[in-house]
Symmetry: C2
Subunit: 778 residues, 2 copies
Amino acid sequence: MAYASLIGAEVRRREDPRLISGAGRYVGDMSLPGMQHVAFVRSPYPHARIGAIDSSAALRVPGVTAVVTGEDLRDACTEMLFEGSEGSDVAEGESPKYSHYPISVGKVRHVGEIAAAVIAVSPAAAADGAAAVVIDWQPLPAVADMEQALRPDAPLLFEGAKNNIDHVWKRKRGDVEDAFANAHRVVKLRMVSQRLSGVPMEGRAVLTALDPMTEGLTVWTSTQAAHWIRRDLAKMLGMAENQIRVIAPDVGGGFGVKIGVYPEEAALAALTRRMGMPLRWVETRLEHMQATTHGRAQIADYEAAVTADGVVTALRARVVADLGAYPVSAGIPDLTGMMAVGVYRIPAVDYEITCVYTNTTPVAAYRGAGRPEAAYYIERLMDAVAYELHLDPVEVRRRNFIPPDAFPYKTPVGPIYDSGDYDKALSKALEVGRYADWRAEQQQRLAARAAGERVPLLGVGIACYVEMCGFGPYESAHVRVEPSGTVTVMTGISPHGQGSATTFAQIVADQLGADFEKVIVRSGDTALTPMGNGTMGSRSLAVGGGALVRAIARVREKARRIAAHMLEAALDDVVFDDGRYHVKGAPDSGLTLVQIAERAYSDDLPDDVDPGLEATDFFKPPALIYPFGAHLAVVEVDPDTGIVTVRDYVSVDDCGPRISPLIVAGQVHGGLAQGIAQALFEEVVYDENGQLLSGSLMDYTLPRADDLPAFVVEQTVTPTPHNPLGAKGIGEAATIGSTPAIVNAVVDALKHLGVRHIDMPLRPEKVWRACRQAQDGA
Amino acid sequence: MAYASLIGAEVRRREDPRLISGAGRYVGDMSLPGMQHVAFVRSPYPHARIGAIDSSAALRVPGVTAVVTGEDLRDACTEMLFEGSEGSDVAEGESPKYSHYPISVGKVRHVGEIAAAVIAVSPAAAADGAAAVVIDWQPLPAVADMEQALRPDAPLLFEGAKNNIDHVWKRKRGDVEDAFANAHRVVKLRMVSQRLSGVPMEGRAVLTALDPMTEGLTVWTSTQAAHWIRRDLAKMLGMAENQIRVIAPDVGGGFGVKIGVYPEEAALAALTRRMGMPLRWVETRLEHMQATTHGRAQIADYEAAVTADGVVTALRARVVADLGAYPVSAGIPDLTGMMAVGVYRIPAVDYEITCVYTNTTPVAAYRGAGRPEAAYYIERLMDAVAYELHLDPVEVRRRNFIPPDAFPYKTPVGPIYDSGDYDKALSKALEVGRYADWRAEQQQRLAARAAGERVPLLGVGIACYVEMCGFGPYESAHVRVEPSGTVTVMTGISPHGQGSATTFAQIVADQLGADFEKVIVRSGDTALTPMGNGTMGSRSLAVGGGALVRAIARVREKARRIAAHMLEAALDDVVFDDGRYHVKGAPDSGLTLVQIAERAYSDDLPDDVDPGLEATDFFKPPALIYPFGAHLAVVEVDPDTGIVTVRDYVSVDDCGPRISPLIVAGQVHGGLAQGIAQALFEEVVYDENGQLLSGSLMDYTLPRADDLPAFVVEQTVTPTPHNPLGAKGIGEAATIGSTPAIVNAVVDALKHLGVRHIDMPLRPEKVWRACRQAQDGA
């Protein structure tokens, strides 16, 4: 009997027929009887007191039902809950008392903050109503720049605070002073990881309705973490967790900006409780740019103490991280610190991240969340070392790599890397990418330009990354074999594009003998699934898959017991093999899962076997895990126009074993696009007063397909010991590796001109200007 | 620390605030975007060929989208699935090939059968469209009377059949012939258990919608058995079970008529798959009377061989059971046979039930389903024995009771009664009811009437019943303690008025230490709950409660493990007691479930304890169980008008331990009303041609509150050994006991006139006529 394992098979995504054919069901597609619509009145000021609110004109707009202010709703819902930083060795900030109700009370602290809600019978009437609300704004001095926010004379965001600092994350390990004192050279670099916006295709959207059954609420929301939304809404509204059912239907992308509870979710929940009718709000793109959390937004000053051979003996870093107006996820910059040394054995580190408030949209998780910044800094620094020592950047990296025999490796800043072989990944990238040929071509271009040809310059960029993922505290899975033998999985993760329904179906089919095509994976519904933590931080397969494998094992064990009964064999003699349950050595006698399931729900079971064929299990990862990889980019740069074209891209990523290679490739492709976009295109821009200048997709430059080359996606496979699948996570990897690879490549193309660094995004004007300045300076 | 157990506590129903305040959510309350409405074209003939169907006028009705015939839908859905009789010793019928598509093809066999469906944008347009469909009906000879249907010249319902018999259930045990040959007397009685209609306050209703996530369907339907509907629809539509999600939201009564899949459910499912849009159908009351299955509908000829002391030595019975036009649940009459001997030790039995088709609405489960008929027959027969031998009916019963020391008792017809003390229940009823006083009063009335006073006659009726319930094959429960310590239960039963959410919450609170007010019980949703079997046959607590107790035990065991960790105690030293988890002998040190739950979902757990605090379990009852009781009724009968008034009613029911006495009392009250209504009021009437004469609530007489006395509800408690709670079931008990008690009381009032029996319902005209005939005959 031929049997092909589905683990590692090139299967098509189960989700795609639905999504591609327009049958996806998003919150904005949903409608309930009696539903009304909410529009928010948002602050046009970066910092202002909310004076008198005059609703009279708004209430005269046809179709407007109510105008609700923060004061009106103050008793219905607590202030927003914020996640503090937990990882700090030394949390030094003043941690002011931040007051932020879902509909703000008293003050607003960034453009786009909510000051009132308008409920109306149509979205248009709600929008018209919102436009007609008159607020007596009293503008306050604002600070939008994170370094200015640190000045003693900066306007303060929070009353009673001594400064705008939330906390300072610090680590000092090893003899840093000694290393710098004895360094052959100190290489310094100031780098900006600019502020980005998530921009999923589907913005946020919320629909709330009373649930008479629980005297509670059902909340449909476009989220990555349904259970967390439930937990926080329950706390904020003073309800029992099981009175709130949070459902994430199809979610059109998240990228980290849909993890935490938002003011709009809490406001709609409180408003539905107050008003009684179902309410829906669907974010506009302007609202997304103004009010959905941003990512990155750091400025880093790095110094490396290096030997003459390019070995880094110490790292000193002073980073400022912009939290925006509220500490939505203040611990994320700490991750930058934890990943400070990247793939390198740097014995001494002095690291300090100052997390500061500004009158801007809050900054929280965005694909990679703290780790792309770390990889960007250390990989740019390695290129700077190579530049200053006139070494090949490959060679500098090899001289500093943590060697394969050093794992598990505890870095000076804390993390314990589980497993890795960084040179293997780099070597594979160099081999696949024909590195030597590219270097030769680069020289030919220089020669041609010297000869007067106006050919573009060629740059080769290298980035080696390691990231931290597999975050707990746990994940859950429920596996239910239906009487007909089809399998339903309920998982605590909450995928929103990752293809987990496919990957999980492969695992179920393979490890349980189920029909892959008929496995249904349900998620993102707090009533349906066991308590879970959602999809973020590349944790789905590593943690959620771990729970799934455990639940499958329980079900398989029970299936074996029933099979033993049916086959009249001893339990120990029955094995699951090649998709069937059979007596050892007699595979042809085997039973299928369909046969066993039918029996499991019949009344023909031995007394010691309960009916049913399903199990729940949880997986608590014993430690964090560290995927890694090496990226290689070739760019063409036209020094006369500053235009950068990515010509070749090789991505070697080690996420452990690949269950679904097509899905891994998809994650890599998307991650590369997003990481390259940070390098070249995207940037959220505020003016000095805190006005958002990039509030539309005319101003915020997303990458398009024709901005990107065909990617060469390769792999090494280094399983982690920390979960049953050995899986490491791939969701963020390519985003992390690609940003420094591209910037390194562009700078590499211009290094002969004396260009040492250009801050992202590397738009033509900036590149052109850098070329001119370098040439002028030369 | 004071702790009051919730088991047996007089708590209020958790469901009632929602239901009483109009916040219940029924299928008819639901609406989906793009939803359209279905109306059915139903046969006005009891038996006819469906000729040409002209839809042209219907399609011209504004708002009509489509007219769909059985032929149109034939490939989309199989014929209806019918449950054959499984329990027959000898299944003798010809079992014809019954063809019955959801929308009938070729032929209809009862008034109200579906011949076409009209889809329209409003219910009114759909109804107008249905009225405009022109069908060229070709009427066929019909038979509506079950005894006529047995005649050799009767019209046949099914082509190719030799007769109209589905099957004959037979049991013959003991030396019946010998007993009759040696009898002191043979007591004969012919009894009709007339046809009834379920008439829940909410009729049936179905809403179907495509579910893109599973490429399947969501079906909201007013059902008692969501999983069974799913199973049958999956088979009929050729889909995987987990592609269909069946949801029973609030259901406004079932009484057995909402158990099986109906043509309307299958038709809407198939139509939504074909047309794409959500479809809703809400039954009218006329449709309910015509097309929702009926109950009872039997004629029984009983003969008892008795000794001079009134001891029954043998029973011979010939019963005809009307199945209506299709074998929707053909095994139900078999239950009448299985309960043939009631509470009596009758050593020899010859029982035969012939199940026959007629051109009437199918007959299936209705509160008690086969068992009320059995109790009615044997209890009427016992009164006839008493009448003929001039014995007190109490004495006759006591002479025939199965004695308490005979349990477990295997009856000659098969069942093994688990436990019982029938005389104890009867004695309690007699004591509570002051039986002797009533008999004296009865004599006073007779004397008064003899003296010319026109006081009503008094009758005292006794009925002792035993019923069979706790049907398997199993039930399921999932218990989830949320991180905040509130508990959610998912149960495979599907309550529709029973109050199981309250009863289950009491058990959870008591056995797990949860907050009773915050326990949420979810049911009736095939995606939410483990595979279950629904609510019918008084099985909720006995079987569903058994699963719940097992799941709770698993969760409690895990809670103990976590508590041991938190208390730094050995697992064996930690006990759950008085609602807390504490070290033996140190109750004040105890932990609450809330504290343990918080820890269960934290990352502070020992390595050998998985996160989470939930469990699923199944309970497979080892055997059936047999609740019993004794009912006592006092009626006043005015022989001049025939008006019967129920003056006193004592119900002593033994359902084992009572978790929720208030809910048990409610079940008893409702059951008494329904059982008394069969005795006095209700009857589905067909004319000889098969036209339904009782198609509205003007014609079908439901009992009203002022038709009923205040009930005295008492109990004995004889736990069953067959489930963890010892619970026996109470849902049907009072219905079963009350019908014979009332008829016995009315006949008792008239026995001095020579009235020996009157067939139900005992309407004034019938009672008056019986009195007149008796007096005329005397």
